[in-house]
Every structure is written in structure tokens, then in C-alpha cells.
Symmetry: C2
Subunit: 315 residues, 2 copies
């Protein structure tokens, strides 16, 4: 196995997610290159500040870039910005990923790996699912509140299951050395549908009904609707030959009832007047299921409601 | 035909709707008895004031009551309060309707005539659908903004179509003399489902998405959702063997696009923190369709969302 310092990392999008994981990797000794936009001047001068439940730290010196063309080709290119900026991918990716490197998509929703494969080829794509609660509270200043686990899975054309590969083990080892909890999944598409079981009902309804998770679970009608939406996600997964067990849905419901009242990330985006990740989280799963012949009426309705609210919100 | 003055009217609920129609009847010479609640003292002393696009008028002397037991039995008892007060029907109706009288239900939604028939017997019930835009702007003070038509239909057990009866023609003649545009319908259940084609999508979505009709029609996603909800209403009607033609749905959509930007009555209730007519407008149609084996997923979801918002709104 290569040593840690040999593998170079590019972080595209140094915000709540990319800033957190990239800083942890650099702090553990990795060679990390950060692409920034509005925070470039500040971070280039002052570095990154991480407040974390696992311990605060600062990185006064980071390799910051305001232009992807100035970045060296890297072994692992982490896509960490919101999917609402994915129209930039064709411009950003080609030069920054080494010929034998890999693009690791740490975004929400479904279908982004397909887009990335179109750009860099299907052998240079991996997916990652983050269970992270963090916010950017100022330029180069990130507050990590809870969780942090990442689940990796390999991508292949048509989302065929690839099992556990050497490459993902090597990257996982780097994350592990950086203190980031890691899981490896054999089947990226199953992992993405599983995450949607939670994301679709709670993110969607939290915006449409202006509600926290505890409010949605405390009312019998929305409690039932959440569960029905989860069943539709399972039906979407099934249309792709991925099976989500009843017990998984029950676990998600129980877990949500027990967790602290939570304002979802989509609700935070909405409240902050940022564009919503509607297409990757709702549109892409719906279109995929529809291609496979599955009809998901309630998710469709939630998508339509969110498209309306998103359009009005970003006026 | 009996003369106008022989037929006595009771108005249960002297608000934007009952106050308007009752005043028009009295002004035309009918013997009208008004039941009031919070406005009783004021109206008993000062009468009713109607501002109307068809001409303003005042009725300084009205027969006002604060207790249904003090009212004489009447030929026509008009139920004009919101369906959110229908738990009062068993207490209000028995004494005020003559043995050969009739209860005329001028409320929104579906299924109220069944409830009334349980109380006064199935021979003494009629339904009426109002296309009226009016508001109560103060005690005994009603502002009539637009429209005003009433469509009558006879009720029978199981909502069997009754055709046009002598009784409905007589009452229609009174309304006609009072200058109220009248239509007669042979089939009450068809008329009620037809009205829901408009009421369900626009009332429901206007509350959930905080939107006027023009906003809902101006966005492609909600425009499609409105139409899909209308198709589900038609499917509900079909489960009851009532056919709503494609052209009827197209007409409702076209008409709504052309009308002035409109805040629905349910949205006004919501903004005023009044309880919503969710059960008669959504719950009853859903339960009826479900009994008949029809599954209406998007209307169900709208119902669930409204139940959540209604519960929170009236806290």
C-alpha cells in the first residue's frame, strides 16, 4: 500500500463538507489542494478554522486556489460543492484528475456519477455518501456539529455493483487515518437509494410544510405520509433491482423519532434563500424510476411542490 | 305556486354567505329568520349592511336570534356556516325545520347531506353549491365582491339522482325573485364532484404553497400538479359512477388562467387562523372514493399536508 503522503487530494468546494473533510485529511498528513470561490482571498491568507465536537483545530497554511487550471492533477478529486453547481463539472474536472486518479462524488441524491463518468470516463469515478452535520459559519470557518461518517462505493456504467476494490480500501485507509469514520459498500446504487429513504421525505416535507423532523413525526397524518414516501423510495429502488427491507424503513422512522429535533439541510438552504438540490435528490430518482416503469405519485408531487417553492425563493 | 311571503326561511350562520343570501331574500319580500352567534347583539340592534357589486343596501330590521330554540319552524332551513361547525347540526336542526320543510345545505365539500339526513330524515334534505365571492368585513356587515350563483340539487339516500323536483323549482323561484342567479342540477353527487375539481387543487395548494391561483398556474410544475389533482377528482367521481368529461377539466384550467389572481377561501381561512374545511373538502371525498375502491394518492397527500398545517395553525 502506498504511504499517505504519496496520494494527493483535490477538494472542489471548500465549504461545510469539503472544508471539513479536506482539513481532516491535511491535518493527518495528506497533500490537499483546496479550490475556493468567494472565500479564496481569506483562506489563502488565513487558512482554515475547524470547530468540531471531536476537537477544534486550525490550518494556518493551506494550498488554496481560485482557478482549477492552477491546481496540479491529483489522485483523488473530491466533489464537495452542492449539486446546484454541477453545471460546472465539465469545466472543473478534466485537468485536475490524474490519468490513474479518481473523482469521488460526495454529494446528495442520485445520478451525479453518471454525469462525472461522461466527463472523465467510467473507470475514474467513485461515490461517497456523507452523514455529516456541519455548517460554514464564516469565510474558511467551519463548525462540525455531529456525525461525520462517509460510505464509499465504486461506480460502473449502469451502476452495476462493483464490490469492494483495492482503490476504495486505499482511500478509506487515508480517511481512517484522518479520524473519519468509514464504511465500504459493494453497491453504490443501493447505497444511494437507501440514503434517499431518509432524504426524500424529510428534506422535502421540511421545506413544503416549514417543519422540523419532530413536528413531522408528531402529527399522525405527516407521520403516515413520511412512511408512504419511504415506501415509494423503496419502490423506486426495486425498479432498479435494489431491495430495501421493511426493517430498514422502520429503523429510519424509529431513529428519526429518537433524534434531536432537526432542521434538514434542504430547509436550511431554503431559509438561506439558496437554490435547492431538487434535481439530484428528487428529479433524478424520479426519472430513473420512470425509465424502469415505476410510478411514484407522492414523490412526484413533492418534486412539483419543491420546484415551485425553489423558483419563487430564488427570485 | 305558493306566493313568496308564504315560504319562511331560516338562515343558520349569518356570515359572508348566509348573510348575503338571506338579506337578498328578505329584501325581495321573503320572511327570513337569522341565527347569529357573536354578532347577535349588533345585528339585533342595527340590522344588516350589504355592500355589493350589484348595489348596496341595508336592512335595519331583521329577525335575529341567538338561540335556535327561539326560532319558529321554517319551510327552508339554509345551513350557511362553515363545515368546521357541523358538529352542531344535531342540536340546531330538529326544531327549526317544519315537518314538510327542507334543509338546504349551502356548504363546500361532500357528504354533509348524509349527515343532515341522519338528523331530519332523507326526505327533507337538498344540496346547494354556491359560486360566491364575499367577505364579512364587520359585525352584520357583508361585502359581496363577485359571482353569486347557486346550483340546487335534491338529495336522496345513497346520493341517487333525483332529477328536477317541484320543490326545488319553488325555492329556485324565490331565489330568482331575490336576484340570485340559479341553476338546477339533476344529480347532486355529480355537481359536488364537479365543484371539487376546482376546490381540491386550488384550495389545497394555495394553503400548502402559500400561493394565489395565478402563481400556481404560472409555474409549469404546479400547473401540471393542478391538472393531475383534477384527474384524481375525476377518478373519484368515476368510482361513484359520475363522469367528469375531459373538456370540463380543460374548461376549469382555462377559466382559472383567465380569472383575476385569486386568494382561495381556504387560504383566507388559514391566514385568519380559522380552522380549515379539510374534512368535508378532502377527507369525505377520499373516504367515499376509497369505499368504492379508488386510490387517489395525490389528494391523499394534500389532505395529510393540510391536516398538519391546520393542526399547527389553530394552536
Amino acid at each position: 500500500m502506498e504511504s499517505f503522503s504519496d496520494r494527493t487530494y483535490a477538494i472542489l468546494g471548500t465549504g461545510a463538507l469539503g472544508g471539513f473533510y479536506g482539513s481532516r485529511l491535511q491535518k493527518a498528513g495528506a497533500d490537499v489542494h483546496f479550490l475556493l470561490h468567494s472565500d479564496y482571498e481569506h483562506v489563502n491568507k488565513h487558512g482554515l478554522v475547524i470547530e468540531s465536537k471531536d476537537g477544534d483545530f486550525t490550518l494556518p497554511d493551506v494550498r488554496a486556489y481560485d482557478d482549477v487550471q492552477k491546481m496540479p492533477p491529483c489522485d483523488v478529486v473530491i466533489v464537495a460543492f452542492k449539486t446546484t453547481h454541477n453545471h460546472l463539472l465539465p469545466k472543473l474536472l478534466p485537468s485536475v484528475v490524474k490519468d490513474d486518479g479518481v473523482v469521488l462524488v460526495l454529494q446528495n441524491g442520485l445520478g451525479v456519477e453518471d454525469e462525472v463518468a461522461e466527463i472523465v470516463g467510467d473507470k475514474r469515478v467513485m461515490g461517497g455518501l456523507c452523514f455529516l452535520c456541519s455548517n460554514k459559519v464564516g469565510p474558511g470557518h467551519i463548525r462540525h456539529l455531529d456525525y461525520g461518517e462517509v460510505k464509499f462505493a465504486e461506480y460502473a456504467i449502469g451502476y452495476n455493483s462493483q464490490g469492494i476494490t483495492t482503490r476504495m480500501c486505499q482511500i478509506a485507509a487515508d480517511f481512517d487515518r484522518a479520524g473519519i469514520p468509514i464504511k465500504l459498500a459493494a453497491d453504490l446504487l443501493l447505497a444511494r437509494w437507501q440514503k434517499l429513504v431518509w432524504n426524500i421525505p424529510y428534506n422535502g416535507l421540511s421545506v413544503v410544510l416549514d417543519a422540523r423532523t419532530d413536528e413531522l413525526m408528531g402529527n399522525t397524518h405527516t407521520r403516515a405520509l413520511v412512511e408512504e414516501l419511504m415506501w415509494e423510495v423503496a419502490a423506486g429502488a426495486k425498479s432498479c433491482d435494489r431491495i430495501i427491507a421493511d426493517s430498514f424503513i422502520e429503523m429510519m422512522l424509529d431513529w428519526t423519532v429518537k433524534m434531536k429535533p432537526y432542521r434538514t439541510s434542504m430547509k436550511i438552504d431554503y431559509d438561506e434563500k439558496r437554490p435547492l438540490e431538487v434535481e439530484t435528490m428528487f428529479g433524478n430518482p424520479l426519472r430513473l424510476a420512470q425509465q424502469k416503469g415505476a410510478n411514484l405519485p407522492k414523490i412526484t408531487m413533492l418534486y412539483q411542490q419543491l420546484k415551485f417553492l425553489d423558483a419563487r425563493n430564488s427570485h
